[in-house]
Amino acid sequence: MNILRKKSAANVPFSETVIETLIRLCGVSSIIFVFGIFFFVFREGAGFLFGGLDLGQFLTSPEWYPTSLSNKRYGTLALILGTFSVTALAMCIAVPFGLGAAIFVSEFCSPKLRETFKVIIELLAAIPSVVWGFIGLTLMNQLIIAVFKAPIGLTMLNGGIMLALMSVPIIVSIAEDALKAVPDSYREAAEALGATRWQVVYRVLLPAAKNGLLAAVLLGAARSIGETMAVLMATGHSVNIPLGPLSWIRTLTATIAAELGEVARGDEHYQVLFIIGILLFTITFVVNLIADLVIKGIRQE
């Protein structure tokens, strides 16, 4: 595309210069917004982050008592563990299904069936998170009570299943892209040697596409870490160190969503919620960055 790029000629009208400037401005808007998000979230929390917050306690203490009258404590360990445990559980469910579906859609499927499956997966991805939360609150809650004889079905397991259903579409679509990116000559070479489809998948495609599959899992995990409404409604909402799939937990995201409405602006508690926001932003930023580098790594090969 570079060869034909002319330096703009002298007779370019003024209106075009204006519109080109506008386009360039919009082009870099994403950079501005990403920095803007960090800046404004940081700005609201900075006061307490640098003046008074015990960062060690913030990251390692499980005691989250932001509204205690005598001794306010802002330890987020239980929340961090809540986020990571429910995400891990969701990935345990979503990764086998997501990769399995991606392999089926990309390798075993007739073209017509493939289109149907892709439409269904797209529709699955479109269901809003608050609806998943509502399903967790009603249908899945009763199911878990009935199956596990648990007193309350709003547990880590419930949230994990909801998150799995939400992140499966991402995993499928990115993993399918990764499998499709493997050159057909690899498949043909393997088949010429007498390999069956499954042998091609297992011996050739999976090793060749492993970076892309890893990126798919990472992006699915990033989605789960950042998800708010579903875990807010489905995981029981009590600050605990998670002990098993049936324990009640709370995540970082759910804490912000539940408590931001009840705090006064400028309060310590209010600022801590923004610091949790910075923490979340950093975690997802790093995960997305790694996924991006992994994907870029494949392209360069």
């Binding site: 917004f33 998000i37 479109a126 998170s129 608050v130 489809r197 409604m233 931001l260 409405g261």
Partner: protein, 294 residues
């Protein structure tokens, strides 16, 4: 003659087992979708009617319909669309038509990816910090829509880029050779040839914005606000509004003794509109593919 060996038979058996195994795994994803829609519809049947759509919530949200939240969601979606569609399309035009291969373009692309990955609740915090407080918009439809617009921007950028990439390079080259400037080429050739693809992205943005809850919770959506029934212009964009997604959250977790079917009815309307909009995008995309001229 060539007869199948033991190894060959085993290979074929494994092949069949694996094929069925993967088919089952894929099918297991369809079941929740059908199950959820079926369950919600079944539970919502007693309340679903036209009055449900056009009546305000009554009796502390324990009865009545969903007019106020439904209209609020439409307002939020339209205003956010007006902001994010032009910025998103122009951003994609920049990335695809103007930007050269450089570290700066790489960073811009990375920013788009990361913007898509920022958790929705962090967008909410950003909306509070930037629009509600810093820009002084207060909690209003405008602040909430701007937050939604930034959140859904990557959706439009990604699908517009896809659509622009599908226009063959030779179209542009032919136009340049006639002496057209770069913008003239974009306006007369590139955009008309990719308009359906761009529209698909815009439609997907609508579906995404309509379903989001977290970003609007603290930036402009309220639990309850009474508005005139049947008046399409009942909201003022400088004021707060109700929203369908937040309404579902409220009546299913915060309000006791809601009439049984109402949360389900709200969920059905929300899921129904989102899926309908998505289906429209899918149909448009299939139409584009069949009508492709090159």
């Amino acid at each position: 003659m060539f007869t199948e060996t033991e190894i060959g038979r085993q290979k074929r058996r494994i092949e069949n087992v694996m094929r069925i195994f993967f088919l089952v795994m894929t099918s297991l994803m369809i079941i929740p979708l059908l199950l959820i829609i079926g369950y919600l519809l079944y539970k919502a049947l007693p309340v679903l009617s036209l009055e449900f759509l056009f009546e305000n919530p009554k009796d502390n949200m324990r009865a009545g319909g969903i007019w106020a939240p439904f209209l609020g969601t439409i307002y939020l979606v339209i205003v956010s669309l007006l902001v994010s569609a032009p910025i998103g399309v122009f951003a994609a035009v920049y990335l695809n038509e103007y930007a050269r291969e450089s570290w700066f373009t790489r960073i811009t692309n990375l920013a788009v990816v990361n913007l898509a990955g920022v958790p929705s609740i962090v967008h909410a915090l950003f909306g509070v910090g930037a629009f509600v407080l810093f820009a002084g918009l207060g909690e209003s439809i405008l602040a909430a829509s701007l937050t939604l617009a930034i959140m859904t921007l990557p959706v439009i950028i990604a699908s517009t880029t896809e659509a622009l990439k599908a226009v063959p390079m030779s179209f542009r080259e032919a136009c340049w050779n006639l002496g057209a400037t770069r913008w003239q080429t974009i306006r007369r050739i590139v955009i008309p040839n990719s308009i359906s693809g761009i529209l698909t992205g815009v439609i997907l943005q609508v579906s995404r914005a309509a379903g989001e809850t977290a970003p609007i919770m603290f930036t402009g959506a309220v639990f309850y606000k009474a508005i005139a029934e049947g008046n399409l212009f009942a909201y003022n964009i400088a004021e707060q509004c109700m929203a369908l997604s937040l309404h579902l959250f409220t009546i299913s977790t915060q309000v006791p003794d809601v009439t049984e079917g109402i949360p389900y009815g709200t969920a059905v309307v929300l899921v129904g509109s989102v899926l309908l909009v998505n289906a429209a995008a899918i149909v448009l995309r299939i139409y584009v593919r069949t009508r492709k001229k090159w």
